[in-house]
């Protein structure tokens, strides 16, 4: 019995080892090696690449990534919690409402980001409409700034927040609300003091699922932020391609991974059932 089970898992172990753990190990190793003459890496071992994050320029990139990801997470929560509540409380066609949240979760992230280029650029739909109605005479600079990046992040990751929150709200006993009402609580008081605290595990999981990809965003900042918005993700990509400084790119990647790991450990210690 036990032998067959290990055979079932064997191919997956092979793929996860070769396709995830070993590559990640290589990046971790590169982050403490020296930059090679023609790209690549060389010995000796050094903490130089990691130390470069003390440089105000890179500290700034790090800080900006955190701030934008933080704002996107808060906006997702503000927009997403009521949406999750709406789906969980819908008296009819609940599956349809849920599907309408799930659908964009899977349909091409790249194309969904591109749609905002179409809407926001100088000759895009918003500016064209505003000029046509006479509200403005010159196009507003809507694209290639931090606001556009935040919009793209919220748009891209909102379903990640809604789904776990919906899952916790769905499991809540409706009798708890009746009890609160019987004891004299207004609907708003019930929402803030019963429903919201009970949904906390879902909110934490949702916040993690939005914050982590936002922090590592690459497509959104590149397409909507233009050259003005460089985040850690763009830094990593740049060092591995045009920059040809693999140790520094690897160090940036490791900084990102350690934030992800810390957040994940914190979440799983609080809500162990969040795991698969």
């Amino acid at each position: 019995m036990k032998r067959l089970r290990s055979l079932f898992l064997a191919p997956a172990w092979l793929v996860i080892a070769l396709g995830f753990w070993i590559p990640m190990g290589i990046v971790a190793a590169y982050s403490v090696l020296t930059r090679g003459m023609y790209g690549g890496v060389e010995l000796p071992i050094t903490a130089e690449s990691l130390a470069r994050f003390a440089d105000p320029l890179y500290l700034g990139i790090l800080a900006k990534s955190f701030v934008l990801a933080g704002i996107a997470t808060v906006l997702c929560a503000v927009l997403g919690f009521p949406l999750a509540l709406f789906v969980a409380r819908a008296s009819s066609r609940k599956n349809l409402w849920l599907s309408l949240v799930i659908l964009p979760f899977w349909t091409s992230f790249l194309i969904r980001t591109y749609a905002w280029v179409f809407l926001l650029r100088d000759t895009g739909l918003f500016n064209t409409m505003l000029i046509a109605t006479g509200a403005i005479s010159e196009p507003m600079p809507l694209l290639y700034n931090d606001g556009a990046v935040i919009t793209g992040l919220v748009y891209g990751y909102l379903p990640f927040f809604v789904l776990p929150v919906y899952a916790t709200l769905e499991r809540q006993d409706p009798l708890l609300r009746d009890a609160a009402a019987d004891l004299g609580a207004s609907p708003w008081a019930t929402l803030l003091r019963v429903t919201l605290p009970l949904a906390a595990p879902g909110i934490r999981a949702g916040a993690l699922l939005v914050f982590v990809p936002s922090l590592g965003a690459y497509i959104t900042s590149d397409l909507l932020g233009g050259s003005k918005t460089v985040l850690i993700g763009n830094l990593v990509q740049n060092q591995f391609t045009a920059g040809r400084d693999w140790p520094f790119g690897a160090a940036a990647g490791m900084v990102l991974m350690s934030v992800v790991a810390v957040l994940l450990v914190l979440l799983l210690r609080r809500d162990p059932e969040s795991l698969l």
Partner: protein, 252 residues
């Protein structure tokens, strides 16, 4: 409060869906600008006549089919193994892989392949893209198939074995048919995430393995074009249908 909630939800749904609907609407606009002229399919004709775009589509389809088949087989077996007995290390690894920023995983795979090429005489190409896609799709397959297995009665398998089936026969002839909708749903998701991936793909693709998202990305960086709107609409509609089918199967 219910009315407030409905109004709020309506706004949120509009935010989630209007951008793509607007893009689709303007893909059948005869004018090149964002001003409506009249209905026309001409940008679709232009997109389908674009050889580079069509080659990239063929690459993407080949990669997605190969990656979906491989990751579905591997992921289904893994989910079955994890259902039989929990494997916290595998579950943890898959969970971590799901939340790992794509850009970090992408450069890690690039570094891994570059290291491998010192020993093997191969180059970046379709095969490296397929290998990478299998790696990141497995977690999706496992999540969906495992969810299906949790609704499957293990007593059925025991009954089969009491009647003389071997362990493999019990899996192949009893459990697998029982969880088939979940397996197909997982395969459709793996196909979708493979068709859609840009970040990891662009890092591990070779010169002869440009995929559709790579072609779209390059075009999107140059600016907006009606042909791009057209091909985007085709992809969103196509993947949307697959997702709806996958959803149905997961709930059936």
């Amino acid at each position: 409060m219910t009315r407030w909630l409905a109004a709020y939800a309506a706004a949120a749904y509009a935010f989630l869906h209007l951008p793509l609907l607007v893009l689709a609407a303007f893909s059948v606009n005869s004018a090149k600008s964002a001003v409506w002229e009249r209905f026309s399919w001409k940008w679709y004709a232009e997109a389908f006549a674009d050889r580079q775009l069509m080659e990239a589509s063929a690459n993407s389809l080949a990669i997605a089919i190969a990656a979906a088949v491989l990751s579905t087989v591997i992921g289904t077996l893994a989910a079955y193994g994890m259902w039989k007995r929990r494997s916290p290390v595998m579950a943890g690894s898959l969970y971590l892989s799901l939340v790992t920023p794509e850009i970090v995983w992408g450069v890690a795979l690039l570094a891994f392949f570059q290291g491998l090429f010192r020993f093997l005489d191969v180059r970046l190409g379709l095969h490296t893209v397929i290998a990478a896609h299998v790696a990141f799709s497995i977690a999706y397959v496992v999540v969906v198939v495992l969810a299906r297995l949790r609704t499957f009665d293990p007593a059925l398998e025991e009954a089969a074995m009491d009647l003389g089936a071997t362990e493999w026969q019990a899996f192949w002839r009893v459990t697998l048919p029982g969880i088939a909708p979940g397996v197909i749903a997982g395969a459709l998701l793996a196909f979708t995430v493979s068709m859609d991936d840009y970040v990891i793909t662009s890092l591990v693709a070779g010169v002869d393995s440009e995929t559709l998202p790579m072609a779209i990305y390059a075009a999107a960086r140059r600016g907006v074009s009606p042909a791009l709107n057209a091909i985007s609409t085709v992809i969103v509609f196509g993947l949307g249908v697959l997702i709806v089918v996958s959803e149905r199967l997961q709930r059936s």
